[in-house]
């Protein structure tokens, strides 16, 4: 399967080509070049998936394919390799990333048309695709970390694409700093893990019976084993990228980037990197620190609830989608946290990956649809929309499909994956299951609130008639909608499971029925409140103004961060340090400089440039030397 190398290298090549030539290329050529390379690697990924999943199973498990070379050697056992690891989840991710990325490339040809920096945009898209692909096929945790950071950088570049807009610049900085902050913990986790196990290799780490890990489990620190600490720290890194509470603050702001970028990075690919990381190390988590896994479930559930509540009151459509993304990633995390390892116990793992797959498709669809709407009405605010279904039939239909899918209505893909997640969570802990079902209902509610506000309700007066997006933009919508409709019927358990064995998905009727009912209630409520302009939302908001305002302000998490950084850290740590720097360290250096300068002013007169004065001084010196010599000689 050597050709998989091309999947990785082609986007890099296209990045270098477009990035280096930049404005020398015609915009349309740059766009077509990027899209073409993506089309090639998408085709290769599909072929690769076909190739991989039709190969024979050994002992009931798809054999991982590893191609790698040594890159850095520290000691005989500790070395960093670069290479490709193909196993069920990485192949699945290849398909997801290339599909969504290809759709975004095509869509951007229409959406970004005429923008300044069009070539730069495509160069960054290629860079992002390259880094994301590198991340998922990494053979060891260090290679993953390298690409992890590359993903962070390209996300930063794309969020800050409109770099003349101060909000975009602030958002890109925020995203970079928050994720980088989390990555620090990730790095520490990697270092601890590799220090104790002497390996970076995923294959060695996740081999079920590895002695390395059992030995490591003996070492303890502050009451928990070192391995638990390392895994918890690694999870913090994943939580940063996946926008888990309380590191989620960057994601809503990241919506300042171009909308297709939000679809690619902040819905489908980059934000699931954290989920992927946990899935990649799942056997380690499961066998050596189930307590961290339980923690992941709790963090995921809380994040999911928090984001769902906030999403109910936001008015910027992209922000609603952003919070919905956070909430859905919370679902995936809960599912991973609730998962066991073998057979039916491993349902959560499979469900999480399945949801990752389906969510990527319909969330990308939602974002691209939102992009088409923004393109038509030139605003992100719900109040500027309404009644758009007449003007944009295709966008309307595809958006509705995606909304139904995320709400979990049969037979769309979201129903299947969410149902599996709920089943797994109920199995793990019934109370958590009830909470997650409630969140699923909330999801249906806020998605349909969004839907009705955009396409129904009171029509806003537009400066010019909104119109359907061009074909380049509607094609990806239709394609993704088609995938959303059929993806649920993929026998996902045949491909990706925790232990690699074949698993047949069967719908748990009680869970399926109850979750469908909950979703329908959510949709019904939204229909009641938002289909036609009513006073119900305003009345509700007035009846509990505190909660409404808090949710509107995202429960003051941003304000809390600002308080901690600006008031506490700046005042108590940075200011004294700055004072010390300015008044002690700098002052010492300034003092030296001042002394030197004063001294030079004093003796400057000597360097007059007057030859005759020099000679006089020289003469006096010689006479003095002679006098001394004579005195010494005589004495």
């Amino acid at each position: 399967m050597q050709y998989t190398l091309v999947i990785l290298l082609l986007p890099l090549l296209s990045f270098l080509l477009i990035g280096l030539l930049d404005s020398k290329l015609k915009p349309s050529l740059a766009g077509n070049l990027g899209t073409l390379s993506l089309a090639i690697i998408a085709a290769l990924s599909y072929y690769c998936a076909f190739d991989y999943f039709t190969a024979d199973r050994v002992n009931g498990v798809f054999q991982p394919v590893i191609m790698q070379m040594e890159w850095l050697r520290f000691s005989d056992s500790l070395h960093i390799d670069l290479g490709l690891l193909l196993d069920p989840i990485s192949v699945m991710m290849l398909v997801v990333i290339t599909t969504v990325s290809l759709m975004v490339h095509i869509y951007s040809l229409g959406y970004m048309k005429g923008e300044t920096g069009f070539q730069r945009y495509y160069a960054f898209l290629s860079l992002f695709t390259f880094s994301m692909l590198g991340l998922v096929v990494a053979t060891n945790i260090f290679q993953m970390y390298i690409f992890w950071e590359l993903v962070g950088v390209s996300s930063y570049l794309l969020i800050g694409f409109y770099y003349t807009k101060p909000e975009a610049v602030a958002a890109s900085k925020k995203a970079f700093i928050v994720t980088r902050f989390a990555d620090l913990f990730f790095l520490i986790g990697i270092l601890i893990l590799s220090f104790y196990t002497q390996t970076f290799d995923f294959a060695t780490l996740t081999a079920g019976n590895s002695n390395i890990l059992s030995e490591t489990a003996g070492a303890t620190f502050l009451g928990a084993s070192v391995l638990t600490w390392a895994l918890a720290l690694i999870f913090i890194g994943g939580a940063g990228k996946s926008a888990m509470f309380p590191l989620h603050v960057w994601l809503p702001d990241a919506m300042e980037g171009p909308t297709p970028v939000s679809a690619l990075i902040h819905a489908a690919t980059m934000v699931v990197a954290g989920v992927y990381l946990v899935a990649r190390l799942f056997p380690v988590y499961f066998f050596y620190s189930p307590e961290v896994l339980a923690g992941i479930a709790v963090v995921g559930a809380f994040t999911s609830l928090y984001a769902a509540v906030v999403a109910c009151v936001q008015t910027d459509i992209k922000r609603v989608l952003a919070f919905s993304t956070i909430s859905q990633i919370g679902f995936m995390m809960v599912s991973l946290g609730a998962s066991g390892f073998e057979g039916h116990e491993g349902l959560g793992y499979m469900a999480s990956m399945f949801h990752l797959f389906t969510h990527a498709m319909f969330k990308a669809l939602l974002f691209l649809g939102a992009g088409a709407i923004i393109h038509a009405v030139h605003s992100n605010e719900m109040s500027h929309m309404g009644g758009l279904r007449k003007y944009m039939p295709i966008t309307h239909a595809t958006f509705l499909i995606a909304c139904l899918a995320i709400a979990g209505i049969f037979p769309l893909s979201g129903f299947f994956s969410k149902d599996e997640i709920l089943a797994a969570v109920f199995h793990f802990c019934p109370i958590l299951g009830v909470v997650m079902s409630f969140i699923a209902g909330l999801t249906a509610f806020y998605m349909f609130r969004l839907y009705y506000n955009i396409f129904w309700g009171e029509e806003h007066k537009h400066e010019h008639q909104p119109h359907e997006a061009p074909k380049l933009m509607t094609f990806p919508l239709i394609f993704l909608a088609a995938v959303t409709v059929v993806a649920g019927f993929i026998p996902f358990g045949h491909f990706v499971t925790a232990d690699g064995m074949l698993y047949d998905i069967h719908i748990d009727m009680t869970v399926a029925l109850s979750s469908t009912v909950v979703a329908l209630i959510g949709i019904a409520l939204a229909t009641l409140m938002y289909r036609k302009p009513t006073q119900i939302p305003a009345t509700l908001a007035k009846s509990s103004p505190g909660l409404y305002k808090a949710a509107m302000k995202r429960f003051y998490i941003d304000e809390f961060y600002l308080f901690v950084t600006k008031r506490v850290i700046f005042n108590c740590i940075s200011r004294p340090l700055a004072w010390f720097d300015r008044h002690v360290i700098d002052a010492t250096m300034d003092g030296l400089a001042t002394i030197t300068q004063q001294a030079s002013v004093k003796i400057r007169g000597l360097q007059s440039g007057q030859l005759q004065r020099y000679v006089l001084v020289f003469l006096i010196g010689v006479l003095l030397a002679a006098a001394i010599a004579i005195i010494v000689y005589l004495a």
Binding site: G609, Q610, L611, Q612, V615, L616, L619
Partner: protein
């Protein structure tokens, strides 16, 4: 006293006499170099110092090592160098004068930073 002067005049000229002359020449040169502001006069002062040194070479050679001729050669050497140096220096001074209509050494500060 009288005898001393007669001895001095009749006997061979002692080395100190030469050294006194060359010292006077040398310090006259130094004084001229420091006190005069005219480049031409400074050049003449330098020549004076150089000649004082040449004289010393000749005298020491003659009185201390009469059988070896190195001092004399050095003197000739010094005279040749003095000639070249004078030629170059005068050329420079003439050029300065052509450009600035002045050869006052205190006014020549255009190259100063």
């Amino acid at each position: 006293m009288y005898e001393l002067i007669i001895n001095f005049l009749e006997g061979p000229v002692p080395m100190e006499a030469y050294l006194i002359v060359s010292s006077i020449m040398f310090f006259a040169g130094i004084y001229g170099f420091i006190a005069r502001k005219n480049l031409m006069m400074m050049l003449i002062s330098i020549e004076l110092m150089l000649n004082a040194a040449d004289l010393n070479f000749a005298v020491f050679n003659r009185y201390l090592y009469p059988e070896q001729p190195e001092g004399m050669f050095f003197t000739l050497f010094g005279i040749a160098i003095a000639a070249c140096e004078t030629a170059v220096a005068i050329a420079i001074i003439i050029n300065i004068y052509r450009n600035l209509q002045d050869v006052d050494v205190e006014e020549l500060n255009q190259l100063k930073g």
